[in-house]
């Protein structure tokens, strides 16, 4: 058991280790602004668990060409959590438009393509359900075309498909969408570049600090190894979690295949610094 715990510490840096030991030298400046002390300012508010190295992208990821002119060049400034960051907006289900969770029933007819069910649980890093939180999705249609004026891909629009949905998680953090499997599509990042099929996800969680926008991919997509956005994160396990899992349990007979996509939002650090 002791060995197991030690392993955890080495790989991830447990909350008991001072955060600054795990961050690269280039970011040390921000920490020295804490009045020159070795630890961040005493903070009575529990913060969030530090990011595990390699599980989140760097802002600059040169293979993703658009990041080059749009990522900050100066180190992010590290600040303690205050009431402002541990609070955040909430949205009730009464806000949602009709058929928000069913993207195949937002128009007169049914959209073309393969109907699928995308569902999962939203939990935090401590394994707790994130209930009553807004989940927003958007995606291309079955032909790989977005209903957006700047998408000029030579593929048909579908008059019966907008490609946007919303849901509020239930008391156990579950959400569910009915949609169409999106098509792959070309983009101009590099020669013969194609995005793997994906669905964009936007989540809030309980606080400003827990906001997350991500993308869900499909198992077995041959484009995944070549996609600079999917591959922006060093940690292979973290990338794998972006790929949904085919799921018999949510597959409906003669209706739709089910894909499961669980999402983990940041969790509170259980060991706040002493005030």
């Amino acid at each position: 058991m002791q060995h197991f715990l030690l392993f955890c510490v080495c790989v991830y840096g447990c909350p008991c280790l001072p955060y600054y030991q795990a961050i690269p030298l280039t970011r040390q400046y921000a920490l020295h602004t804490f009045g020159g002390s070795e630890r961040p300012v005493m903070n009575p508010i529990a913060g969030y668990l530090p990011v595990r190295p390699g599980t989140q992208p760097n802002l600059l990821h040169a293979p993703y060409v658009s990041s080059v002119k749009r990522s900050p060049t100066q180190a992010l400034v590290q600040v303690p959590y205050t009431l402002s960051e541990v609070t955040g907006p909430s949205f009730g289900s009464q806000l949602l438009p009709p058929a928000a969770y069913d993207l195949t029933r937002q128009h007169k007819g049914e959209p073309l393509g393969e109907r699928i069910i995308v569902s999962g649980r939203v939990i935090d890093e401590n394994g707790r359900a994130v209930s009553n939180t807004l989940v927003e999705i958007w995606q291309a249609n079955a032909a790989g075309r977005y209903l957006h004026e700047i998408d000029q891909h030579d593929a048909p629009l579908d008059p019966n498909f907008t490609g946007c949905g919303q849901a509020i998680t239930d008391s156990e953090g579950r959400y569910r969408f009915v949609t169409i499997r999106p098509g792959e599509y070309p983009w101009r990042n590099h020669h013969n570049a194609w995005r793997p099929a994906h669905i964009h996800f936007s989540l809030f969680g309980p606080a400003f600090a827990t906001r997350l926008v991500t993308q869900m991919y499909f198992p077995g997509d041959p484009l995944l190894p070549f996609d600079p956005i999917f591959n922006c994160t060093a940690d292979e396990e973290a990338r794998r979690h972006l790929i949904s899992v085919f799921d018999w349990e949510t597959t409906l007979p003669a209706q739709a295949l089910g894909y499961r996509f669980d999402i983990v939002l940041r969790g509170r650090d259980a060991t706040p610094m002493e005030g």
Binding site: T33, V41, R70, Q74, Y146, V264, L265
Partner: protein, 188 residues
């Protein structure tokens, strides 16, 4: 043993499809107390060109300094009609504009107050994870003692400070260069 948070990914170029249903450039219903302010600005890339495909989100307290959130236990008036949230896209020139109220001060560290501020998230094509920053209000005496502003190098603090313009406040988001906006490490 905890689970690692899901990897962030860019909103991409087509986020309007999914996010526009919550676009709102006026955060305040008429019934809400407080000094109305119009905030105008531009999001600029490393070439100084406006970013036409960005969206910013605002989170703030009401004019009494109370957040519409259960973790805010302060005995201050809560206004149910004020969510404290706004989502505003940039236009073709990368400019944005929204109306809100100047929030009241909220608790900071060690019992000290924070100066009135807006929390800002910025998303765009090219950003693999959101940027977070703060906007403070000009000529507010409380800025000098703000615990977060004081953690920022003095020469970079002006990037967090809105300026008075004719009929509004002006505050730009500069992604790169000498006037690069201070962005905070929010983990993701």
């Amino acid at each position: 043993m905890t689970l690692p948070a899901t990897t962030s990914q860019t909103v991409g170029p087509f986020f309007r499809i999914g996010l526009q249903w919550l676009y709102c450039d006026n955060l305040v219903p008429e019934s809400i107390a407080g000094e109305r302010v119009v905030v105008r600005g531009q999001v600029l890339d490393g070439d100084g060109i406006g970013v036409p495909d960005a969206v910013i989100e605002v989170w703030q307290a009401n004019s009494f300094g109370k957040y519409a959130h259960p973790a805010d236990k302060q005995e201050k008036p809560l206004e149910p009609a004020f969510r404290g949230y706004g989502r505003i896209p940039t236009d073709d020139q990368g400019t944005f504009r929204f109306t809100t109220i100047k929030p009241g001060p909220v608790p900071g560290l060690d019992g000290k107050e924070q100066a009135p501020h807006l929390l800002i998230s910025i998303f765009m094509r090219g950003l693999l994870k959101r940027l977070t920053t703060r906007m403070y209000f000009p000529n507010d005496a409380r800025n000098a003692a703000d615990p977060i502003l004081n953690l920022v190098a003095p020469q970079r603090r002006p990037t967090l400070m809105a300026k008075h313009a004719a009929d509004s406040l002006e505050w730009n988001v500069v992604l790169q260069g000498t006037d690069e906006t201070v962005f905070f490490d929010m983990g993701l």
